[in-house]
């Protein structure tokens, strides 16, 4: 019973709240009876007066004749019938009270038709949910009505007439009355069909079929069952051309690239600068439409040059009244898809003189752990003592990891009224990471509503986000990730479970098996921390006004502001500082004074404002439909940050404050500002709903270019043609469209980048500051970069929309690049900042296939497949600045991966030096390409009655990536595959060398090279390598490479091919009969899983999903459940 009461209390509370909010927003007084006194006004105006003073609402066709007739009305406290009769007498207009304060106005001529009879009915969607506001018209007449809140309608019509029922987003239906008095109509939703309405640039809603470019939509409810930390993860593989890279690092956001570039994120029509998909809870998403390629830019300017992800958030609902829904997801870590391992045979190097192991963190290139007595650190007695040397820490990593989880809870409340709605939504996400002291909380509260008032519509939303974590940790080798000291430079000769008490002297000295390099991992997580506390507030206000039937005005303002406070605390006695971590955007890497302790504080804040004003016009002229738009926008943003840190250590250990600084604190700040003013427009024409053409233009004025170059113009043209309209009707062919577009875009220079200014360094030496002249020449007149994209595509639907295929080909020329082009430093400058005369072309093909092989009342199977390939090549080279390299040639790919390969003889054998170590070339060579050959995704949805099974799989094929984790596993001696017999001999017979590298050595002769690295003469004679070396020396050379830059050795450059079962969900929807009894609208329960299975071609110990690999945190499999309840 409790279950029933709670929602009621809740509902009451929300009712009150929404009522108060509505009252505050809506000024009209609500009266049951009508009192009006209007003299000599058009009937239309008088109707408005009634609307203003009562809660009656009138519906009528805009073309209804007689409403402009001048009339008068003076009534006091009368009912609607009395008022309407008085008003409409002697007019051509009749009224019909539809109940619930709805009044329809129709032409009186209806009465002039033949014998009329009352026809009533109900309009609902395929699930039986009533559709409110659907139009029901008598065909070829002006008689019609609108459905009420229960989807009911009634009107008078002749017995043989036909009714046309239509509603946006649904397929219109015609029904012969055939003498019936009751007609129930089910409208089919237009989900898959290409008459689907999608949101395009600036929020312009257009039908899919009219678009001359590729757009793919994802419905919000697809993202609301398996809810991870980031909704973007659920987008992986769902859109052709969209690559989502999901890093396994704690709190790392997925990165999205669309056709190889980073798309702009547009939320409710506003291109917010500081928001990411993380800041939009999946439960607030109505739908997402992905505008591919530069077509989005035509109207968004440079920020949209790389495509756009358009998020439309939920506003109201279809059903009037109050609805509350709760969606709660819980997932726990259930194993790891990829996790590094550590060999447990060899331990540390033992200092023979003292029989003590080295404590400086050098990895595990030492003695085999065979139980011999060695003087070691005992973390329990906290002394050095002789103990048997054994792999007691072989499970250190597993013992250190903690149970992770993701909680994702949302409650939202919607009040849908006849003229508006109010929605409030609260989301709480908590993520517990793999490592101790890693917790991330994300709170989102958003409130939004719409008000319709005659020709005016106002919608607004406000969202507040708070992201906090006490320790987001440090990642990557140069950040001294926990793996650095726990896996790589550690040995399995100490037990992490004995080291939980991590102080030797509290706040000053660690209880640690190591004295340098490796922190005690517990100490590392609790005493070397990076906290974050971030707030983002953003809002949108949109005003639409119908000036005329054919002319509409729209005003939209978007504003966001954020602040972010980050602290890095490094305890005294830490062996590592903060590494390459930063505290503010564009801040300096902290590194820090490790052993002395340090406190670092960064505060960043900023805002962006985006306002637009637009006028829309549309006109139909015979078979042509014209649409036009002009508008202007103002976009300004500012980001600033201040970072400060202690110097010389902390005066009091564990006193984390700037006041603790022994030397004067170091402070730096930055600020970035940019404004872009734009004027843009669009004209579209369609002919017979068959041929569609659209052109856009935009002119920007931007602050980052000089006065002479800051104004620039760029147009686009696109069109589509419905071939299926002219082909003979075929049963199997439902729809066939071809489309094409040409779009140009421009991109300006970076903030401040055209300025020739000195870099100032405070107190560079003692009290003296320095000024450094730029190393890049800035004297040039920089003009915007350009792109020009051609796209062709085709969409075909077959077998009653059971099969649909969409194919797109695009080719994007990029030119006038603004580059800091490298020049010889002997010129006094390392680069020249200018527009270079190089052209690069990105080409690609995207295929999206949707198939519904089974569709019955009980069964439905939907498959959707996405496949994408693209590459960028040099199309034209700049003779001065493109670079003089063998791999930079017209037609060759731009994502080359350069390495210095092993020196090899003509048979491909590695050449060894006199010490038996492999040799490397002194010249770069191109080893392959970093971008994947293609990416793919597969979605399977199976429904049986109330059960639904969803599986999504995605993958990438090809592309090179360096494995930094495995490279260091090899270099530090911890790789499980390094347990070769030679290693044992090396370790047990000190000074012996036992490893023979496979390959050759040079017996005599020399080789010479030209400046490209080509051999110019070679008289070398080779013999098989017969020089033994130690396994350690060999491996360190063979796996040459660092995390500090430079190229890796070829063996650590991996093929990044992988695929993942991304998500699995099994949902049961409770039958409506049951939910009704529970006083709920709908209830569903799901078993869910994310990051379920990974297969990778070469990356076995770490997850390459994030795109690059540098001590990736263990990749967690999440399994859990989700409950959705709607009231």
């Amino acid at each position: 019973m409790e279950r029933k009461i709670k929602p009621r209390i809740l509902r009451r509370a929300w009712l009150k709240l929404s009522f108060i909010a509505l009252m505050a927003l809506l000024t009209p007084h609500l009266f049951a009876q009508i009192t009006v006194n209007v003299q000599n006004k058009p009937i239309k105006e008088i109707l408005k007066s009634i609307e203003a003073k009562s809660d009656y609402r009138f519906f009528y066709n805009e073309g209804l004749k007689g409403l402009d007739k001048i009339s008068s009305l003076r009534v006091s406290n009368v009912g609607i019938d009395a008022a309407m009769t008085a008003l409409l007498q002697n007019s051509e207009v009749a009224y019909k009270n539809e109940g619930n304060n709805l009044v329809a106005l129709v032409a009186k001529e209806a009465e002039k038709r033949g014998p009329l009879r009352r026809v009533s009915g109900n309009v609902s969607d395929s699930k039986g949910v009533p559709i409110i506001g659907a139009t029901v018209m008598v065909k070829d007449s002006k008689v019609g009505t609108i459905t009420n809140y229960d989807g009911d309608f009634s009107l008078d019509a002749e017995a043989n007439e036909t009714l046309v029922v239509s509603y946006i987003g649904y397929v219109s239906k015609e029904l012969k009355i055939n003498g019936q008095s009751r007609l129930n109509v089910k409208l089919e939703e237009n989900v898959k069909a290409l008459s689907e309405v999608v949101v395009t640039a600036l929020g312009i809603k257009r039908e899919q079929k009219a678009l001359g470019y590729a757009v793919q939509a994802v419905e919000g409810d697809l993202l609301q069952t398996v809810k991870g930390v980031d909704m973007a993860t659920s987008l992986t593989g769902k859109v052709a051309g969209l690559m989502v890279k999901n890093s396994s690092e704690f709190v790392a956001e997925p990165t999205l690239t669309l056709r190889g570039e980073t798309p702009i994120l547009v939320i409710d029509g506003v291109p917010f600068k500081n928001m990411s998909l993380r800041d939009v809870p999946s439960d607030d998403i109505e739908n997402i439409s992905v505008l591919k390629g530069g077509t989005a830019s035509a109207l968004y300017g440079e920020d949209g040059d790389r495509g756009a992800i358009m998020v439309t958030t939920k506003k109201g609902t279809k059903n009037k009244g109050l609805s509350v829904s709760i969606n709660s997801g819980t997932m726990f870590t259930a194993g790891y898809l990829a996790i590094p391992e550590l060999q447990a045979t060899y331990g540390r190097v033992i200092t023979t003189a003292t029989n003590t192991y080295v404590r400086s963190g050098d990895g595990s290139w030492g003695a085999p752990m065979e139980g011999q007595e060695v003087i070691q650190w005992d973390p329990i007695s906290k002394t050095m003592k002789s103990m048997p040397y054994l792999p007691i820490g072989k499970d250190n990593f597993a013992n250190f990891l903690e149970q992770g989880y993701i909680l994702n809870n949302n409650i939202n409340v919607v009040q849908q009224g006849e003229n508006g709605s109010l929605r409030a939504s609260a989301t709480w996400v908590q993520n517990k990471g793999q490592y101790p002291n890693s917790k991330f909380d994300k709170l989102t509260y958003s409130i939004g509503g719409e008000i319709k008032f005659n020709k005016l519509a106002l919608s607004s939303s406000l969202t507040y986000n708070k992201n906090t974590t006490p320790n987001k940790g440090f990642s990557g080798y140069t950040g001294y990730d926990p793996m650095y000291g726990l896996l790589i430079w550690s040995a399995a000769d100490w037990n992490i479970l004995d080291s939980k008490d991590y102080w030797l002297i509290p706040n000053e000295v660690q209880n640690n098996s190591y004295t340098a390099g490796n922190n005690n991992p517990w100490f590392d997580r609790y005493e070397r921390t990076h906290s974050m506390d971030k707030d983002i507030l953003n809002g949108v206000l949109e005003l639409n006004y119908d000036i005329r039937k054919w002319l509409k005005a729209k005003l939209r303002g978007g504003y966001e502001t954020y602040s972010n406070r980050q602290e890095i605390k490094v305890s005294k006695g830490s062996f590592q500082g903060a590494g390459s971590a930063t505290l503010i955007p564009n801040g300096t890497e902290v590194w820090g004074e490790s052993q002395k302790g340090s406190y670092n504080l960064g505060i960043s804040r900023g805002y962006s404002a985006n306002s637009e004003a637009m006028l829309f016009a549309s006109q139909k002229v015979s078979d042509f439909n014209f649409e036009g738009m002009v508008g202007g926008s103002l976009r300004y943003y500012q980001d600033e940050g201040i970072e400060t840190r202690t110097r010389g250590g902390l005066s009091i250990p564990a006193f984390y404050s700037l006041k603790a600084s022994i030397d004067p604190v170091q402070v730096a700040s930055n600020i970035y500002r940019k404004q872009t003013n734009s004027f843009f427009g669009r004209i579209a024409v369609d002919w017979k709903d068959m041929l569609f053409l659209e052109a856009t233009f935009r002119n920007d004025w931007t602050s980052t270019l000089s006065a002479a170059e800051r104004s620039y113009f760029y147009p686009s043209v696109s069109g589509s043609f419905l071939l299926s309209e002219i082909l003979p009707k075929q049963d199997w062919l439902s729809f066939w469209k071809i489309r094409s577009s040409w779009v140009t875009s421009k991109k300006t220079a970076g903030i401040y980048s055209i300025n020739n200014v000195y870099t100032i360094t405070n107190a560079a030496w003692g009290t003296l500051s320095t000024a450094n002249y730029p190393t890049s020449i800035r004297g040039n007149d920089i003009f915007p970069e350009s792109t020009s994209t051609i796209e062709v595509g085709s969409a075909i639907n077959m077998f009653k929309n059971k099969v649909s295929i969409d194919v797109a080909y695009f080719s994007k020329d990029m030119f006038d690049f603004i580059r800091s082009a490298s020049v010889s430093s002997a010129s006094g400058f390392s680069s020249n900042y200018l527009n270079i005369d190089e052209i690069r072309t990105r080409k690609g093909i995207e295929v999206a296939l949707d198939v519904t092989p089974v569709k019955t009342k009980d069964w439905q199977l939907d498959l959707n497949v996405n496949w994408t390939t693209s590459k960028t090549v040099f199309t034209q080279l700049d003779s001065l600045y493109s670079g003089d390299r063998p791999w930079i040639k017209e037609g060759m790919r731009t994502d080359y991966y350069l390495i210095r390969d092993y020196l090899k003889d003509q048979q491909g054998n590695i050449i060894h030096n006199a010490s038996g170590l492999p040799l490397f070339s002194s010249y770069d060579s191109n080893y392959g390409y970093s971008d994947p050959k293609y990416i793919w995704g597969l979605g399977v949805n199976l429904r049986y009655k109330n059960w639904q099974l969803g599986v999504s799989v995605d993958g990438r094929v090809g592309g090179l990536a360096q494995t930094i984790t495995e490279m260091y596993m090899w270099r530090s001696g911890s790789h499980p595959n390094s347990l070769v017999p030679e290693r044992y001999l090396d370790a047990t017979v000190p000074g012996s060398k036992n490893y023979l590298g496979e390959g050759v050595k040079v017996v005599s002769g020399t080789v010479t090279y030209d400046t490209y690295g080509n051999i110019t003469s070679d008289n070398r004679v080779f013999a098989p390598n017969d020089v033994k070396t130690t396994y350690k020396s060999y491996i360190e050379t063979y796996h040459k490479g660092t995390a500090w830059g430079g190229s890796p050795s070829p063996v650590d450059l991996y093929d990044a091919t992988f695929f993942k079962i991304r998500e699995v969900s099994l949902t049961y929807n409770l039958p409506h009969l049951l939910t009704k009894k529970l006083a709920m609208k709908d209830v569903s329960v799901s078993a869910i899983a994310q990051n379920v299975f990974l297969w990778a071609k070469q990356f076995k110990y770490s997850d390459i999903d994030g795109g690059s690999e540098n001590f990736s945190d263990p990749s967690q499999r999440y399994i859990g459940f989700n409950v959705k309840v709607g009231f």
Binding site: T351, T352, A353, S360, D362, F453, A516, Y545, E593, K596, A613, L634, G648, D663, S669, I671, K674, Q675, N677, W701, T704, R710, I751, Y752, N755, V757, I760, A763, A764, W765, L768, S769, T770, A771, N772, Y773, I777, S822, S824, S825, A826, S827, G828, F829, G883, R885, N913, A914, S915, S922, D986, P990, K993, T1006, T1008, T1011, T1029, T1030, S1033, T1037
Partner: protein, 512 residues
């Protein structure tokens, strides 16, 4: 109606506002101005930058600092992984240092009409010659006459012959002398000279002597006039004096010595070479106690810290694994712990009276000058070097600190000035080698190239000089970026010097 009118008005006004905003792009330049960057800084701030780029260690970290000392056989590095520089692996150099030149131009330009301008011009000439000297010493021919023409649109400067580069360097140093002579005390000097133009003039001349001495194999090339220039500078009398102090930098707790606070991760594995230790022992030189710690093994065997026998250096050419094994046995002397523990273990000394006097001693022996005598030059130089070491913390000297009495009695036995010029030269070179430990170690490598003394250990099995396992590499390769940005000019330089092949064993003009 009223509402509708209001709304219309709002829309109209907003459209108007947006339109107005277009036509007013006036504030765009303000928006795009970075308040944290300066367009017209004082010459003193540029000067500080120029001086720091010249005398400061600008490498990445402690490991990079040790690298030059590995190449010059001062130390060996055990236990982590083999360092190529210890085993004679040399790769590409870098022209990045030439970005100093526009800073010099701006420093001089911004001091127009300032009484300090001549001093700044002197600094500019000194810094420029210092930078070019180091680059040409590494690679051979380099761009000189067409260098720094980027702002004039020349991004592909031709390479000048090393001979021409040296003429340029020497002329610039002569100009520096003139500018400092007419200069006044200037602001922005981070060195202990604190803007004193006379001290700078003396240091600049001392550096000129060093440059000239490195040209000893080209002493008779007429265009250079090495001997004449040398004698002229000495005759000018504006050289460093014992109390002028060094040109360099004093470290502090904020501006720390590069090896300080490095958490013994790298530095604790640094073994001092037998080359240095054995020579110090033979000289009975107490600097041994300042540069090294006693070997743990010898201490365990009962030897006292103050006993020179407790100090065992590593033959830095032995196999790395063997070295590591011995290192773990505690066989070798580690780098003196003051470098790790103290923020200010010792100052950075780039131009010193000690080195100047040793150069004068060599010049006197070579007959480039006729004033003074070689023995006095030698002894004054060494005494100054010992005094500098005496100025560091005595607590790290293992109970054998240098004091004045020790200095006064230093010149006995092997340290006493020898009889033959051949032996004298070796003594002088050895003292210069000792002087540059943890200072300008790369210069010791150049000196080794010139003099062959002290004799660096060589092991063809461990030698990473692939194309010549029986010899040391003689030069750095040209910057890899030049093949991309200035290939034709680089190729011309390679063709005329090294048969077109950029290789480390090729012999550049100065050491031919």
């Amino acid at each position: 109606m009223k509402m509708k009118n209001n709304i219309l008005r709002i829309i109209n006004n907003s459209l108007l506002l947006v339109f107005l905003a277009f036509v007013s792009c006036d504030n765009f330049d303000d928006i795009n101005t970075n308040p944290d960057a300066a367009t017209n800084p004082s010459p003193s701030m540029i000067c500080t930058n120029v001086v720091l780029k010249t005398v400061k260690f600008n490498g990445r970290d402690a490991m990079a600092f040790l690298d030059a000392n590995l190449l010059a056989k001062y130390v060996g590095f055990a236990n982590q992984s083999q360092q190529g520089s210890q085993y004679n692996s040399i790769s590409n150099s870098d022209f990045g240092g030439m970005t100093l030149l526009p800073n010099i131009d701006q420093m001089v330009k911004n001091s127009e009409g300032n009484i300090m301008q001549n001093s700044y011009k002197g600094i500019g000439k000194f810094a420029s010659s210092w930078m070019f000297y180091n680059l040409t010493m590494q690679m051979g021919d380099i761009p000189y006459s067409e260098a720094n023409q980027g702002e004039m649109g020349n991004f592909r400067p031709k390479y000048d012959t090393q001979e021409q580069v040296f003429i340029g360097i020497l002329n610039e140093l002569k100009e520096a002398d003139g500018f400092f002579a007419s200069g006044v005390t200037f602001d922005g000097d981070p060195t202990p000279y604190a803007g004193n133009p006379d001290k700078w003039r003396r240091a600049s001349n001392a550096f000129a002597l060093k440059v000239l001495m490195s040209l000893s194999k080209k002493a008779d090339v007429a265009s250079l006039n090495v001997k004449g220039r040398f004698a002229e500078i000495v005759a000018g009398g504006r050289l460093l004096e014992p109390n002028t102090g060094f040109l360099g930098l004093n470290y502090s707790t904020v501006n720390m010595h590069p090896l300080s606070g490095t958490n013994d991760l790298f530095t604790s594995r640094t073994d001092v070479s037998s080359l240095l230790i054995d020579h110090l022992k033979s000289l009975n030189d107490r600097r041994l106690f300042y540069v090294a710690d006693p070997s743990a093994k010898q201490k365990a065997a009962g030897l006292a810290e103050g006993d020179m026998a407790a100090y065992v250096g590593v033959d830095v050419s032995i196999d790395y694994a063997a070295m590591t094994a011995q290192h773990l046995l505690g066989a070798y002397s580690l780098l003196n712990s003051r470098y790790l523990k103290e923020a200010t273990s010792e100052p950075r000394m780039m131009v010193t009276y000690a080195e100047q006097q040793l150069i004068l001693a060599e010049a006197r022996i070579r007959g480039w000058i006729t004033t003074g005598n070689a023995k006095d030059y030698y002894e004054s130089g060494v005494k100054s070097a010992l005094a500098a070491m005496m100025a560091t913390k005595a607590s790290y000297a293992h109970g054998k600190p240098i004091d004045q009495a020790y200095i006064d009695s230093y010149f006995t036995g092997e340290a006493a000035f020898k009889a033959t010029t051949d032996e004298q030269l070796k003594q002088i070179w050895l003292q210069r080698y000792v002087l540059n430990f943890m200072q300008d170690a790369t210069h010791s490598y150049y000196e080794f190239r010139r003099t062959g003394f002290p004799v660096f250990p060589l092991n063809p099995i461990t030698n990473l000089n692939q194309n010549n396992p029986n010899g040391f590499p003689m030069r750095w390769l040209y910057p890899g970026s030049e093949t991309n940005t200035n290939r034709e000019n680089m190729k011309a330089a390679l063709d005329r010097q090294f048969d077109g092949y950029d290789e480390v064993n090729k012999i550049m003009w100065i050491i031919k």
